[in-house]
Amino acid sequence: GRYGDFGGQYVPELLMPELQRLDQAFQHYQQDPEFQAELTDLLSNYANRPSLLYHAKRMSADLGGAQVYFKREDLNHTGAHKINNVLGQALLAKRMGKKRLIAETGAGQHGVATATVAALFGMACDIYMGKMDTDRQALNVYRMELLGATVHPVTAGSMVLKDAINAALQAWTARADDTAYIMGSATGPHPFPVMVRTYQSVISQESRQQSLDQLGHLPTAVVACVGGGSNAIGSFANYIDDPTVQLIGCEAAGKGSATPLTAATMTCGRPGIFHGMKSLFLQDDAGQIAPVYSISAGLDYPGVGPEHVQLAKTGRAQYVAITDDEAVAAFEYIAKVEGIICAIESAHAVAYVQKLAPTMRPDQSIICTLSGRGDKDVAAIAKYRGVTLNED
């Protein structure tokens, strides 16, 4: 449960017994061939894995340096890497005898993934979402309802993600006997960071083998965006013991990491204790958690998974901050050059590839994870560019 000084289980006592049961079950089923076979089957035949390792030839030529490859998590069922983790956690929940899944969601992506798997498993599903977010994301709310989930608009506090987390944790505390909490990122108390890492590491397990098969060698660098950090830790995991492979996480600088309108936790955060873990957080002097900002709802989180903090501290991974401007430009660039509309989250990683590739040789290679597809972001990009889309 610890990554150096980071991680841990900083939760109310009422949650501890369930977290311990969860940890035991997780450890147990990691060794259970039948569980692993069923998970592999779900990943292959429902989530659509393995995802492609795509050689972006036009982009490589245009940038004039390293060969750029995209790990295409956007091609998964439901359009993002989220499903890998939800399948793992939900299957574990099913084995633990749970009848109901709980999750919180901000923009709605993790909620949709959770509702999807709940439908597939025939489990009840309750999604907690701040009232501000249910208003802003009415379409995603309806999508979750179509999938059979009950969406609870949370009217407490500032009515956004953190209030939804409070409400969901309380709901879980009240019904942990028949209910599993599905954590959306590599954050929270142990065992969630290690569980999410484990279930997302299929990304680098595949990409490492694909790289050996398609390139004949390991990549020079692996680049992924970091909010809580689940797609990044999954993208890095199987390369951590390959010292030649550079690992680079790209977090959201928002309007700039020197401004208050940022979500660049690794760049600007201080150690703290929040949401069950010791990690880095954007916070004020007293330790109150700061409001954060990024154009990307998926990176708009005041903390980061504890393993990333440790990877940074030991120098095994580097973390860079990418502004809204850079991410939007990268979003547009990859659309025009490769015909791929990627998630604005993923565009933060693409933006760094645009900087990195030209500094490298053509015989070197970068694997950049496209964590999700960007259909959800098209309207926001238009707005960012001042284009008015008046739909009937």
Partner: protein, 256 residues
């Protein structure tokens, strides 16, 4: 482990109250706590407001927000205690989320508590497994670290918590389920088997409920009910007095 928190409450069963420090402001918090002391409260748990009180329900969360909006910081909470100490010697403990102590510095926090005769600290998001980083520092200043246990906590775990506990032990029901004599008895029995520390129950209170719970515990904590009263009553101090006196009388009457 010895701490300076006097567990010989003034009354038996004891009446404890939660107040969110700084809700609605510095001065009124001071007056509220003094009023509670005068009305017969045995101990006040002064909650340091936090941006994200994940262990608390909507009532305390809203109070925290008001207190933060009023500019309340941990440093100010200590100043409130100093002001309260001018008027009453009633035991005071702080409730604070781990990050607030962590940012203040554990040693500095403990020293400040010691200087202000704050007998102990409740940290709602610091379970047994994580207490090691804080407890010795508090203990070195004689400050108690009071744990919470749930009604569904296993006897074994409850006893492990009790073994590490100082000050008193607070028993909590599962959210949404009011604690009852029946639901709290098993874990209290397990605790009593290994500890002499007072055991109190967090009660979402009516005087009847509090009185009943007091039959199995050493006291009751009036939490969000008190916070809600402060939030919604215009004549807060007289209401606090009235409510505390009613509870006090009920508890006294129940004790033979």
């Amino acid at each position: 482990m010895k701490t300076k928190l006097t567990v010989n409450f003034k009354h038996e069963p004891a009446l404890l109250s939660t107040v969110v420090a700084g809700d609605p402001n510095f001065e009124q918090t001071v007056s509220q706590v003094v009023t509670l002391a005068q009305a017969g409260c045995d101990l006040v748990i002064l909650a340091v407001p936090f941006s994200d009180p994940v262990a608390d329900g909507p009532v305390v969360q809203a109070a925290d927000e008001r207190a933060l909006k009023a500019g309340t910081t941990p440093a100010q909470v200590f100043a409130m205690v100093a002001a309260i100490r001018q008027q009453t010697t009633m035991p005071i403990v702080l409730s604070a989320y781990a990050n607030l102590l962590y940012q203040y510095g554990y040693a500095a926090f403990a020293a400040k508590c010691q200087a202000l005769a704050i007998g102990g600290v409740i940290v709602p998001d610091l379970p047994l497994e994580e207490q090691g980083e804080l407890q010795p520092t508090l203990a070195a200043q004689g400050i108690a670290l009071m744990p919470q246990v749930g009604t569904t906590t296993t006897p074994k775990r409850a006893q492990a918590i009790a073994a590490a506990a100082t000050g008193f032990i607070e028993v909590l029901a599962t959210p949404g389920q009011a604690p009852t004599v029946t639901s709290t008895q098993p874990v209290i029995a397990a605790l009593r088997a290994v500890t002499e520390l007072p055991i109190v129950i967090l009660s979402e209170t009516t005087t009847v409920a509090a009185t009943e719970l007091a039959t199995v515990a050493d006291g009751v904590v009036i939490g969000s009910t008190m916070v809600q009263l402060i939030a919604t009553q215009s004549s807060v101090l007289s209401q606090l007095t009235a409510m505390t006196k009613a509870l006090r009388q009920a508890l006294d009457a129940s004790h033979h």
